[in-house]
């Protein structure tokens, strides 16, 4: 079964997701001010990649901190986000990077947009915005975007939910998650080897978002 066939069998429903982030804008960074976990996963990329590497920040948000961190490290960075407002903010915050307002599904093998191949892909808290059924497909897309042996860092919130509507910074978004053991299986099944893992309990600086279990995985494309 080809990726194309799989994607065709799914009815995409992104309604409200991008709009929520359009509305949230800068408040996202205010609610999640501490990004040590994300930064240290970024450090792993910087330590592992030669200068001038091409890096894709998938679900880049405002570009802070990861797009900026990668750009500052001297990489050629492309940022992608579904939210128009986020891409706008990111262009302002990280002028040195290139940004596209795109859906990850647009980047699938044979999809409408080809951004070329990357030495690394970062996807921090972005795959969780997909329904579970799409996540293996998204992993295949990431694998497709990477050069052989390319690096993949991602973060998820540990939860056993699928397309679950939650209140989020005054909006409603739908999120999916896996428990740690299940996440391992999904990532490995997607053709990645998990090199490093870190988990944190994170308390957002906002009263209506409960604390969450954040998982950061540093992976390598398994060839």
């Amino acid at each position: 079964m080809s990726d194309e066939a799989d994607y065709q069998s799914i009815r995409f429903d992104r309604s409200g997701q991008a709009e929520a982030f359009d509305a949230i804008g800068d408040r996202y960074d205010e609610a999640f001010p501490h990004k040590e976990g994300q930064l240290s996963a970024g450090e792993w990329l910087i330590d592992s990649l030669p200068a001038g590497s091409r890096v894709l920040d998938l679900g880049c948000g405002t570009g802070v901190p990861t797009t900026r961190q990668m750009t500052d490290a001297g990489f050629e960075v492309v940022g992608v986000d579904l939210s128009r407002r986020m891409v706008q903010l990111a262009r302002g915050y990280v002028p040195a990077a290139t940004f596209h307002q795109l859906d990850i599904a647009d980047l699938r093998p044979g999809g409408p947009h080809d951004l070329g191949r990357f030495d690394a892909v970062a996807a921090f808290f972005s795959l969780l915005m997909l329904p579970r059924v799409e996540i293996p497909l998204a992993l295949r897309t990431v694998r497709h975007l990477l050069v052989p042996g390319g690096l993949f860092v991602l973060s998820m919130v540990e939860a056993d939910v699928d397309n679950y509507a939650i209140p989020f910074l005054g909006n409603t978004i739908r999120v999916s998650g896996y428990l740690l053991e299940d996440l391992h299986k999904v990532i490995e099944a997607g053709g990645f080897e998990i090199v490093k893992e870190a988990a944190y309990t994170y308390a957002p600086a906002i009263a209506d978002v409960p604390p969450e279990e954040q998982v950061f995985l540093c992976c390598r494309r398994h060839d």
Binding site: G37, A159, V161, Y200, Y202, A203, I206, A207, P211, E213
Partner: protein, 637 residues
Amino acid sequence: MTEHPTPQGPRVTRTPQPTPSHGRRAGGMGSQSQDPVPDSPQDPVPDGPPERGPDRGGEQTDPLQTDRLQYLDVATRRIARGMDLDETLRELRRAAVPAFADAIIVHLHDPLPVGDEKSAAPVVLQLHSVSRKPQAPQASPSPLLKTHPLHSDIAERVRPDAAGRLSKLLLAGRPAFGDAPGIAPAVAELLGPLASAPEAIPPGRRLIIAPLHGRRHVMGTVVLLRRSDRTPFTRDDLLVASQLATHTAIGVQKAVMYGHEASVADTLQHTMLPSSLPEPTGIRLASRYLPASKTAQVGGDWYDAIPLPGSRVALIVGDVMGHSMTSAAIMGQLRTIVQTLAGLDLPPDEVLHHLDEQAQRLGSDHIATCLYAIYDPISHRLLIANAGHPPAVLLHADGHGEVLRVPPAAPIGVGGVDFESVEMHAPTGATLLLYTDGLVESRETDVGTGVEALRTSLRTVADGHSAPSLELLCDHILGAMVPGSRDDDIALLTARFEGFPPDSVGYWHLDPHPLTAGQARRLTRRALRRWDLESMLDSTELMVSEVVTNAVRFASRPIALRLLRTDVLRCEVTDDSSQVPRMRQAQPGDEGGRGLFLVDQLAQRWGATRLSTGKVVWFEQQIPKKPPKEPSKEPKK
């Protein structure tokens, strides 16, 4: 008043009133011609009833009677005006001395009887007060009439012999002259050995003893004395004394009832305030309540602290307008409503919204202000909504007092108000001060000035100690802000944010399905291992499994499992079904129901709370005092 004129005697001349207890005294024993109208209309002080002097011998009887009536009219009005015991008796003394007598000695039943109940306890009379006219140089040698020392020469406590003359007199309830048959022993019994000293009792009818008799009880006695150089009492004077005593007794009884009512109201109010504050983790609390100075001024101030799921705490201060038993009663009802709403874990603006609705159902004219805050020690956030209440002040660790800008919407009871919750950072080490207007507002000071004064006083307390204890802080604030006499009651609630690091928390959303309980067990195991709480693994896993199994049976959306490690291990399972489980002994063959029985056996505390969005079932276990290894307190990030 049908009495005949008093026998002639020397006139007593007007005397200035240096005695402190006569501060407002003006006028005196002047004849009608000298001083026809006693005092100004605003502050009438009675002249004495006319004593027949040589210069008045030719006058008609009628004006004398009129004078007597005038005197009584003013005197009884003033006695009736007294609101408390001391005031009533002060007016009696002012009316009596020097206008009617040269000395007055008041004894009161101790304790004063309240209501109509008969007391089996023996009567005890306690000396209440003495007033004397300053002594003239040629004064009589009576120790009872000596101006100094004031009290020390009269017996303080008297236990009348049940069969003695004094008891008889008290029961009879009528005033009597000191020289009447059988009265001298009664006077001696009341006044003690002094009364039997030579010349203690001035000769002739110069002593009247009048029982103070209430509706059912003896309230006390009044002894009136005239010096030997003054004209003796007449039989008319006995009636005057009787009137004074009757009105005084009514006044005393009224004051007692009034004091009793005030103490009932006071008790009512205190019963409605928290008897103790909860001691949740992540926050420290201290409170003060000061009633208004005037005893009968019951206030409607209240405060509360209510633990919420997730170790959050609701902090509340409120003030029902008015000072009456009704204010206190309404306060009690509002406080209960707030507790109920808080239990539903509603955001502050919604709590105030529903409180407003409920308050209108209590009556149309009950207005209250209320400030509702939720502190979250994990996210270090504070959520506040305000219904017309003075602003909360956040005392930062450096001594800076920040007035929290929360839109002060209209008060509770107005209706149709749009309340707004404002969220802000709640830094660890900062102290939230919630108070009622009595702290910052008085007849002389508006709220704005008062709040500034509060901030200034906070700076000084922080200068001395880097972090004063909350008890100290409360005392300091009240010491700096509260004058001796208060028009209003004051409630003060202080909350110091201690917070706790996110790594003492575990939080997961779990889809409800047959495997959820197993997943919850695994997550629990992982968290407890991370926290070095292996010794608690078995019991915790078992309870988590039971509670989650229960939740999964009713949930239609993902449930939430939350683990909190402080000095206790707290587990909370939230689901979207509002059906709150009840513990019951499982019957053979029962599938469910055992779960909570088990939790009840194993947990130190547990509970199930209905929320606006479903329910939370929680349980706590004490963490063993000395874990094998001290877990890191620092967040890992």
